[in-house]
Structures are given as C-alpha cells and as structure tokens.
Symmetry: C2
Subunit: 280 residues, 2 copies
C-alpha cells in the first residue's frame, strides 16, 4: 500500500493510497478520511462511499463537505475509485462516459474483455474493506452510501451483505438498472444479455425479492435531470411495499443531481449511519 | 447579465453568470450563493471571495463547504474569476500557472499588453459589486476574503477600501508580493519594473504605511509548501506592529495549502465577517 498524498483536515487526515488489488487485477487508488484521535487503541467505524459515473476517489472528499461532522462523530470515510484503471484495462471504444473507465457499476463482470479487471463488486465489498481494516485504525463496523451509479452500488452491496454493513443509504441512486438506459447498457456488456444475471445487481429487484431488515435511507432531488429516465426511485418504494421492507425516501423540491445536493444533506446521512454504528 | 447554471444548495441558490465587464473589457464569469429567504424586501450582505492561482469562480463554491453556515447566517457569497479570459485576452507564452490567465493578481495592469484587460482590482472592488448590487437582493454591506493570490487580493482590496468593506480575512495569503517570486514575476510584468508602483498592491507595505482600523484575520497552515518562499505571513505581523494595526494571524500545525485547510476553518471566517456585518 503506497501513500500518494496526505492533507490535514478538520483535525484529522485525508490520505490517498494506491494498492495492488487481486480482485480487479490492477493497481487501485482510494482515499480515506481518518478523524482526529483514531488510533489502534481507539479504532473507528467506517462509512464507505461509492461515487457516480466519471468520478474517482476525490469527488466526494473534495465536494461533499462530510469531513467536519465525520471528525466530530469519530467516523472514518473510505472512497474507492469507480472502476479499475491503468495499462491493460479495457475501456469503451467511443469515449462514452457511462461505460468502461469511471463506470464500473460495482458489478463483477462475467463477459470478455471486461471480466479480467471489472470486478468492482468484490473489490468494494471484500478486498478493499479487508485491506483497510488491516492497515488503518478502524473497526469492522461498516456502513455504505453512494451517489447515482454509486447509490446503486451502495444499495446492492448493503442489501446483499447485511452481515457486512450496519446501514445503507444513497443519494439519487440508479434504483432499477434493469429498466433504464445506463443500467441496460452496462449490465448487458458486463454481465451478458441473460437478464436473470442482472437481478442480483438491481436494488429494486433485490428489495422486492424478500423482506430486508438493514436500515435504508434514500435522498432524491425532484429537479434531478436524470430522475425519470435513469434513477426511478419510486421503483424502490414499490419494491419495499411488495416485500414489507422498511425504506425511507426523502424527495427534495428543486434539488438536482449535483454535489450541491449531496452536500446539502450529507450530514443527515452521516447521522443516520452514526446511529447504527453506535456513535450517537 | 446571463445565467449559466443554477443549483439549489442548503435551501438557497448557487448561480453562475457571465456579464460584459467594462473594466476588464471582456465577458467575465462569476458565481453567487444566495441564502434562503434573500429577497428584495430582505436583502442580505455579501462576502466576496477571491481565489488563488489557476482557480476560477467554482473552486470555492464546490470545495470550501461554506454554504451551510452562509445559509444559516443569511449571507451571500460572490466568487469572481481570477483573471480576464476569452478571445483577445493575452496569456503568458510558456504555459506557466503563475502569470496571465488564472493569475490576474487582482491588480490594474499598467503595462502593454496586459493593461487592455487585466484590470482585476477595479473589477473586484468596483464593477462587480456594483453589478451584483444592481441585480441581486443584497445590501451594500460587504466583507472580503480569499486564498493565496486571492488572500493577497482580499487584503489589498480591504485595506485600501475600508469604506467599502466592513472586514477582511485571508487564508494563506501572498503577504508581501514585492518580496517573493510569484509577486515579483507578476507585479513586474503587470506594473513595470518601478517598484514604487508595487507598493499599493503589497499588503505588508500597506499595513506598515499607517494604522488601519479595518478588522483583519489571517489563517495559515505551518505545513504549507509555499509558506517560506511565497507567502511570508510574518511580514504582516511585523508590518502591523510597525503601524500599531490590529491583526490576528492563526498558525495551524500540520495544515497545507489545499482546500482541505480552507474548509477546516472557513466557518471561523464566516462568523468573523458575520459579526462585522451585523448578522450575529
């Protein structure tokens, strides 16, 4: 694990690292915010944040305004990259922003050529937490959140692994990827045309399949330019009704898809997770 | 004045505009954050923020984490660009980041070819406030702050215009530009080799020249990579002692030159200005 940079922030430390990841078969970059006083004697729980299309490990750390409250709560935040990168990692051929580099969709790809590196589900749910817990003063208590494609990733990771996360939340998630252009484009190429393989990466379908007990919080702006075509959060609500799963969806008048929306409500999500992590 | 984009944030609005500026003789872009409930009936005071080298109107808005408290305090924030831009605006010839585009140093240039557009001092102290006060629900109560080159700009603007600003603050300012490489490079080209012309753009010299009554607050990290060669905040302290001017310089262990430093202490500065603007 190699340190790229370090910044003091709100009394804690913002650190960027690269490490060789087995799951994605390449070097991966991630960022971690460690609150003040985190130490081997006083390890802290971790909120994992999964970013959206085109992002990397830095968007959330620079723009969300999350560090102040994380410092006060004593919560670490880990932000991975949104895809494998580097020499030999295939990308889409036409420069599209919604598939390939920066657009791993947090799935374990099964199709050539993607499967050799695009194993982001295993990376974010297993390998990264394992490495983080080995190298930093953190506990094994985890929560997960994310935005847009990363909101999809967080919901899927949390719903499928209630033993690994105490709570899951999302901002403007791609809620039903089997039923939107971004999801159909990505899932068909990463997982193949057999749509049954998509079900385990579709939050609405996972929620509908059975009752889920993990605490779920979703934030959505009603002026989000992707709301009706790509995000479809009402699919989550319908699925939750179907399986009697408890889910809170907060709709916000006038808010869009940007980090200004995330920043406006990130502290509500930190407090939600802090409650389930036993910090408040 | 033309609206480029609008985002709801913390119940208020983040707006970007272009307008034709007479002082810089080109179209200028700026951003304004209007807190909730700002209206013609209830206009709000304005904090002007001047950014550093390579920045534009967006760095502060996206990374400083200032909007939450500005919304609570009822304070607008205006962030101009850091230089004139566009067709016909000259740039340095070797792609250097510290002179030309993105590096206007908030001076009114007197030298060819710079003087035709690089009139950033007049733009930020006169034309921009005048246009802002004409178009938005704001009062004529102003405070000013900035970072690095923009910290220099804020100090100079505030010290020279105590009738226009109620308070001035800076993060990691270029405190004594006559005595550092960034300043010498920029001032010699914008203002010519006659160093007496530089004095009115050198915060340390302005402070030393006479007693100043405007409230002054400066924040500085002691792990700032530019501290000893470019920033030299102790020159401000020495100048303040010389003229019996009251100045607070807070040095912070381990903090660097980044926006993580600004974010960590921006709320202290908003409260400082809010006190002088009569908001608290």
């Amino acid at each position: 694990m190699e340190l790229i940079s370090e910044n003091r922030a709100f009394g804690g430390r913002h650190l960027r690292y690269t490490h060789d990841a087995k799951s994605t078969n390449c070097s991966m970059t991630f960022a971690i915010y460690l609150p003040p006083f985190a130490s081997a004697e006083k390890p802290v729980p971790v909120l994992y944040w999964l970013s959206g299309l085109t992002c990397n490990d830095q968007n959330f750390m620079q723009k969300a305004g999350a560090m102040k409250l994380a410092a006060e709560l004593g919560m670490a935040i880990v932000a991975p990259d949104t895809s494998p990168r580097g020499e030999g990692v295939p990308d889409n051929e036409n420069g599209a922003y919604d598939f390939g580099l920066g657009a791993g969709f947090y799935v374990d790809a099964t199709q050539t050529p993607w499967k050799a590196h695009y194993q982001m589900y295993s990376y974010v749910t297993e390998e990264l937490p394992s490495d983080v817990e080995q190298h930093f003063p953190v506990t094994k208590e985890r929560a997960i959140s994310g935005h847009s494609m990363g909101g999809h990733g967080a919901l899927v990771a949390g719903l499928r692994n209630p033993n690994r996360y105490v709570s899951v939340s999302a901002f403007s998630p791609v809620s039903n990827p089997s039923d939107c252009p971004w999801g159909q484009k990505a899932l068909s190429q990463y997982l193949g045309d057999e749509q049954s393989a998509w079900d385990e990466y579709d939050a609405a379908k996972i929620i509908a399949s059975k009752n889920h007990a993990i605490p779920l919080l979703v934030e959505q702006g009603n002026s989000d330019e992707f709301l009706s075509e790509q995000l479809k959060p009402l699919a989550l609500v319908q699925a939750a009704q179907q399986s009697d799963t408890q889910l809170t969806l907060n709709m916000h008048e006038g808010y869009d898809h940007s980090y200004f929306f995330i920043a406006s409500f990130i502290e509500d999500h930190l407090e939600f997770h802090a409650g389930h992590l036993g910090l408040i």
